[in-house]
């Protein structure tokens, strides 16, 4: 059970937990947190599997990918929270399942 397996399998578990949260939780902020968990899990898998270089120095490409991934996750999270806040101030709801009201307008 070499070290890279511990981290990458751990990452996989975190990804799964995040996936459950994103799919199952009704509250929008919980969904955003779930998405972040999925992101962190993926990054852990990336870094874990990037550490298998024979010479011991970790492969720089996964690290670059993780850095880019982090920035993208920040962007997605910011947008998610902004929409959640705006949707809350518009309808007083914090989940998508209850329909704000009937009817529709163009």
């Amino acid at each position: 059970m070499s070290t890279y397996l511990i981290y990458s399998l751990g990452g996989a578990v975190i990804f799964a937990i995040g996936l459950y949260a994103l799919l199952a939780r009704r509250h929008l902020v919980h969904k955003v947190i779930g998405a972040n968990l999925m992101g962190s899990g993926t990054f852990l898998v990336l870094i874990g599997l990037g550490n298998r270089a024979p010479g011991g120095t970790p492969d720089p490409v996964p690290q670059a990918m993780v850095l880019t991934g982090i920035v993208v996750t920040v962007a997605l999270t910011a947008l998610g929270l902004a929409i959640t806040k705006r949707y809350f101030s518009a309808t007083g709801l914090d989940d998508l399942d209850t329909d704000p009201r009937e009817g529709d307008h163009p």
Partner: protein, 227 residues
């Protein structure tokens, strides 16, 4: 509202976990990946921190799009904010003793750290994103402590600060095309200075972006906020 356990999402995530775990276990225990070529090329261009070399030079195009993602998110959050008239309430009242004095102590220190991170990026872990994050945090801290924007910082100046990093990156990317190179092909002579200039401006933009991402949606809200 307690969420009860939902079967379908549970099955989906367990299935995902199973597939991913078996794949990871099945992978060979040693795999060089691209580290050999990357290290070799990083030597030739003289950047000790290979990750920065990958981020800014070899896969600089990824970073260009990444900066665009961050700025796009800022524009998106700005487009979502409620018109300023409704949200004129300031974030908080006058700051308490602890927050006020702590901010006065930390703010200059954070700016120095940001500068250091930019400089060390070429040799050790650091660079534009890390420095930008520290700068952004400083900005948010100042706003939370109740320091309002100084008068000369008008809306247009903030927009320039937000885009200066991207505009610089585009300019530096187009430069080599004018004299025979391809996009983002830094001339060897000016590589170091160009990268440093680029990192500095990127830090400014990333700091401004992260701060406005927080402040744009936080500066209004029905219940919270000032007394």
């Amino acid at each position: 509202m307690r969420d009860r356990l939902k079967i379908m999402p549970l099955l989906a995530s367990l299935a995902a976990l199973g597939i991913i775990a078996t794949t990871i276990i099945g992978l060979p225990s040693t795999a060089p990946g691209l580290s050999a070529q990357m290290n070799a090329n990083a030597e030739t261009i003289g950047i000790k921190n290979v990750v920065t070399a990958v981020l800014l030079d070899f896969r600089g195009y990824d970073t260009l799009l990444e900066i665009s993602v961050l700025m796009l998110a800022t524009v998106a959050v700005l487009s979502l904010r409620v018109p300023p008239s409704e949200s004129r309430r300031r974030l908080t009242g006058e700051s308490g003793l602890l927050l006020g004095s702590l901010t006065r102590l930390l703010a200059p220190f954070m700016i120095v750290i940001a500068g250091f991170l930019v400089w060390v990026g070429s040799s050790g872990p650091g660079g534009a994103f890390q420095a930008g994050a520290v700068l952004g945090a400083g900005g948010i801290l100042l706003a939370l402590a109740g320091y309002d924007r100084p008068a000369w910082v008008r809306q247009s100046l903030i927009r320039v600060a937000l885009t200066i990093g991207l505009l610089a990156f585009i300019a530096i990317a187009l430069l080599p095309i004018l004299n025979g190179g391809t996009l983002l092909e830094y001339p060897d002579s000016a590589r170091k200075t160009l990268l440093l200039l680029l990192e500095g401006l990127l830090t400014l933009s990333i700091g401004a972006s992260l701060a406005s991402l927080f402040l744009a949606s936080a500066s209004r809200g029905q219940d919270g906020g000032g007394r």
